[in-house]
Amino acid sequence: MKSSNKILGILLLLIYVCVATALLNDAFIKPYNLQNLLRSSSMFAIIGIGAVLVIVTGGIDLSTGSLIGLVGCTMIMTLKSWSQYPPGDNGAWLVQLIGVELLLVAAGWVLWDTLVKRRKLLTHARRPKTGLLVAGVLLLVVAFWLRSTEHGNWMTMAVSVGVALWLSAHLGLLHGLMITKLGLQPFVVTLCGLMIYRGLSRYLTGDQTQGLGTEYNDSLRLLAIGKPCTATAVMLAVGIVLLLVGMWKSFVSKRSRRDATARSNGLVLLVLGAVTAVVASSRYWDGWTVEFGNTFAQVAGLELKFFTLDLPERAIARPAHLMSFAWIPLIVCFGGLAFLTARRTLGQADRRLLIGRLLPLLVVAGGLAALLAVMNWIGGETITLANMKSAFVSAEAAGSGDRFLLGMNVVLWKMLGVFFNMGVVMGGVLWLGKSWTRSAGNLPRALWIFTLFFAVLWLLSKTAIHETVVQTPFFFLVVIGALAGIFLNTTVFGRYFFALGNNEEAARYSGINTDNMTILAYVLCALCGGFGAVLFTLDSNNVEPSGHGSFYELYAIAAAVLGGSSLRGGEGSILGVIIGASIMRVLYNAPDMIGIASQLEMFTIGIVLLIGIIVDETARRTAAKRDRKTAL
């Protein structure tokens, strides 16, 4: 219950960030930008999933970024140097390596048991040992077969990806072993990893930038830049899936027979799915080249034409026009929501607390403004309303900044204005989303739903869905996300992860093998990082050993935390981290869209996130304090 609230909160946040950016610049929502955003969000979400798996167990992995660099370099070097050998041999080599490894592990285990533990041969843990042996032998047989038959070039490419994953899994295993068996702190181990892998990749490549050139553009690189279909097709698929899930939930599943709420929720899903599927599929009926109907709304207009054949063009376009005005009710709804919150929160005795905490924030803002005023004065420019207005509104003003001190005055103004507000509202939105979904009251709940509805409507009215290409990383994300979600929420191991993160001692006292779970978490995290590395490398095709993947671990962790994971462990959600990663990417994209110098994009993300978190946390504490008071 609790985590789903959090997810709704950050979903609202994502939509807010998108709407805000789109309002500031239409280019945000153009197909090309969306397509890039979707691709990079997907890749960051994949490494974010890894971060969540570790954070849930109460650990942290700081080495992901360097690991991405090292794995990327290794993959390209492997691919380049191995392409001179027969593909079959390459495949055989990797399979053979894994097979021998398994055999060695099995042999080592048996020896340890008999010599050190003094157990009789094969009396203890017989099944895993024989499993290892059989798997090892089988792999050796496969290797033999690979060597003796002919294979295409794809084998070498697969092997290079395989080597990348093999390497990252082993690095993760190493992290896990050091954390559990040597009792080192995860922070320290992975911090050392961060430095070691970075240095190693620079040494291995001789600091030379690695790239594949154009040779693999229509083979291996398709993994990252392939364009299998457009957003319309994805929507069609999503619609059908929603339809089926809705059907299952409302008519078939056991719960639907007991629980009326579950049934009605299922019906909502069913209707949503049907609408999405119908609207999306209308693109197929009209064909791909129809001039009219760029946006979702216009598609819906064509839908009208499909049913009532004699409609004039203007009438068809009407829904699209109407939808593009959805921002008016959106602002009204959101304002109402904010007003209700303010009334509820400020009407209480805890006003002092709220103001006491937010006042420092205002003081900081005032200080920055004063600093700017002084800089302005030194630069010989007085602050006028027109200056400020131009700073807020026009993107071109950034260019005229060189008259001022440091040449970034206007940029700073713009940032302070837009992003300070954005941060404050973002924190408010985050808290609103989390609290309104939980608290009682039909009016705020209705407002919440309408806010969401109009926001989506307005965004879609601007989006040319049939031109927006969805690239391959998105599909990998869907698969990995689904697997990780199932793993974390429905399997025994997933439950153990949560237990481990909540309280390792209690988990151990409940008979959970906490060491193995920790190791598994780090291996899975590194595997996600490794797969991310493959995609990042193929996407950029230009791997600079000293910089590729720098700070990516922090993006992943930030996405996880935004998505409702607690760094203390025991909390985390896969859906949350995916939304969190998207927010991070939109924030990264937004300064560019508004015309802020790209050097400042990190600065802006930091400021916006910080202010957002301060506001969210303050609101949460205030609410918690009030709840305690009313409870007594």
Partner: protein
């Protein structure tokens, strides 16, 4: 005793925690240079009362008068300003600092903005001499024995020039010699006009030094005893306030076959001492002893948390090796650990998730948890143990201590263990739930489960056990069959004495 005006007067204070009333209109008076002992069972509200006096918690109702003036004691600083110092039951020393630094922690004398180390050293030396600790102030606290650390803690309290010193079970980790030294210090303090509130479970000590005894029971005042009326019998009567026989339900049903037999076992914590004993199926064996006697460590070894360094364990006639807790579980052992919040339950997780945690792999198919069966199990266990929770999705942190303990027990019952190890099974559990847990232990033993439990609650050990094993400094100092049960016998063995006179059982009035 100066009777003019009490220097501390607690007036009808109350404190409620979610689900529990810890204090219900409790009053207390303390005269100048008086030694007041506050006694009561676990959970009677002593610790809460003392935490309120020391400024760690605020009362919900009532007031505190110091020298007849109402005071709000809302922080440790406020308590200190009023001349109140609390010596906690648990040690609160910085292990990485030296003795002098610990004594003056938070009020370091300075000279020109820098810490005046010379003054700290000189002053600490005087204080250490006062408490009779032969130590250099430069010694690292981490290198001291627990007993010495306790004395440093006391030195710290004295050094604040407190007028009221509260000691919460100060002797629980002291040797007899150190304890005697402590009594001398208390008498010294008294002669200097300092008042002492002394909390202890050891009624012998109370008899020895208290001027007056205040008894608490279930968060209420349960009577006072002036100096001449202080005796064991009277104190126990007021503490328990009920017939002990009806409180503990025990039917003897030990069978002949040994469920677990331990031979010459050396634990990781006490590698120089051997332990040998056996527990029959259907038998309840209590392990008594002082804190630090190695009781908890023994249970942890049997459950494989810290593997044994030497010796053998025979379970159901089979030689067994327990390198980790998974193996222990497979052998049919369950452990209800000592620290419930830290080791027993996962506080933010639900009753359902906590109940199924140790059985999860048997409830799963191909690694996927079968939610339906998990739900059934949790519902069944909640019903069987009478756990009071609104629904099984309730996070465990919102349950009372007793109900949390039931969830821990349910977790092990789900595995149907042959041997159940329980470490302080009723610590922090309210009286009603406690009785239910006793009943449950009895039911289990009747079903043939061997129960080995550690308890510091003397009444509980005497009331629930078929046999008592007493431990002292890592070894078993003696075993008592039910006809030998008496508080004196247990205490004698627990403090390292010998049971040469078997006629001890007459005293104390215990069953």
């Amino acid at each position: 005793m100066n009777n003019d005006q009490p220097i501390l007067h607690v007036k009808e204070i109350s404190k409620r925690f979610p689900g529990v009333v810890a204090l219900d209109r409790v009053s207390l008076e303390l005269g100048q240079s008086e030694i007041l002992a506050v006694i009561g069972e676990n959970g009677a509200g002593k610790s809460t009362l003392m935490k309120i006096l020391a400024g760690n918690q605020l009362p919900d109702d009532g007031e505190i008068l110091v020298d007849g003036v109402p005071q709000t004691i809302d922080s440790v600083q406020a308590a200190r300003a009023n001349g109140i110092a609390l010596i906690h039951q648990e040690l609160n020393l910085c292990q990485n600092l030296d003795v002098g630094a610990n004594i003056f922690l938070g009020r370091e004398p300075t000279r020109g903005g820098m810490i005046d180390r010379q003054r700290i050293r000189v002053q600490s030396e005087t204080i250490l001499q006062q408490v009779g600790l032969d130590l250099s102030p430069d010694e690292l606290v981490g290198h001291l024995t627990i007993g010495q650390q306790q004395m440093v803690e006391i030195a710290k309290a004295i050094s604040t020039e407190a007028r009221i010193v509260i000691m919460d079970e100060p002797t629980s980790s002291l040797s007899q010699r150190e304890a005697n030294k402590l009594f001398d210090i208390i008498r010294q303090l008294k002669s200097r006009g300092v008042s002492v509130i002394y909390i202890s479970h050891r009624l012998g000590e109370v008899e020895l030094i208290a001027d007056r005894v205040e008894v608490l029971r279930d968060g209420r005042n349960a009577g006072q005893l002036p100096r001449h009326e202080i005796n064991h019998q009277a104190m126990v009567e007021r503490m328990v306030g009920r017939e002990i026989d009806s409180y503990y339900s025990r039917t003897d049903c030990a069978r002949d076959d040994a469920a677990i037999e331990v031979r010459r076992l050396r634990t990781f914590a006490n590698p120089h001492h051997e332990v040998s004993f056996r527990v029959q199926a259907g038998e309840i064996v209590g392990i008594a002893g002082l804190v630090g006697a190695g009781r908890t460590e023994l249970l942890m070894t049997l459950f494989g948390i810290t593997p044994a360094t030497e010796g053998s364990i025979v379970i159901g006639g089979q030689q067994a090796e327990i390198p980790d807790s998974q193996t222990a579980m497979q052998l049919g052992i369950g452990l209800v650990p000592e620290d419930r919040k830290q080791q027993g339950v996962l506080l933010p997780m639900s009753v359902r998730e906590n109940t199924s945690l140790s059985t999860l792999s048997t409830l799963a198919q191909l690694g996927f948890v079968d939610r339906g069966r998990e739900y059934e199990l949790a519902t069944e266990m909640t019903r069987r143990l009478g756990t009071r929770t609104p629904h099984i999705e309730q996070p465990v942190k919102f349950l009372s201590g007793g109900n949390q303990q039931k969830v821990v027990i349910a977790k092990w019952l789900a595995r149907e263990p042959a041997i159940l190890l329980m470490d302080e099974p009723t610590r922090g559990v309210d009286v009603g739930a406690r009785q239910e847990i006793y009943k449950l232990m009895d039911d289990l033993s009747r079903a043939g489960v061997a129960i080995l439990f550690v308890s510091s609650d003397m009444e509980e050990v005497l009331g629930m056990s078929d046999r008592i094993i007493v431990m002292h400094e890592g070894t078993i100092s003696g075993e008592l069959a039910s006809e030998q049960f008496s508080e004196e016998a247990v205490m004698t063995l627990a403090t390292g004495g010998q049971l040469d006179q078997p006629t001890h059982s007459a005293g104390g009035g215990q069953p």
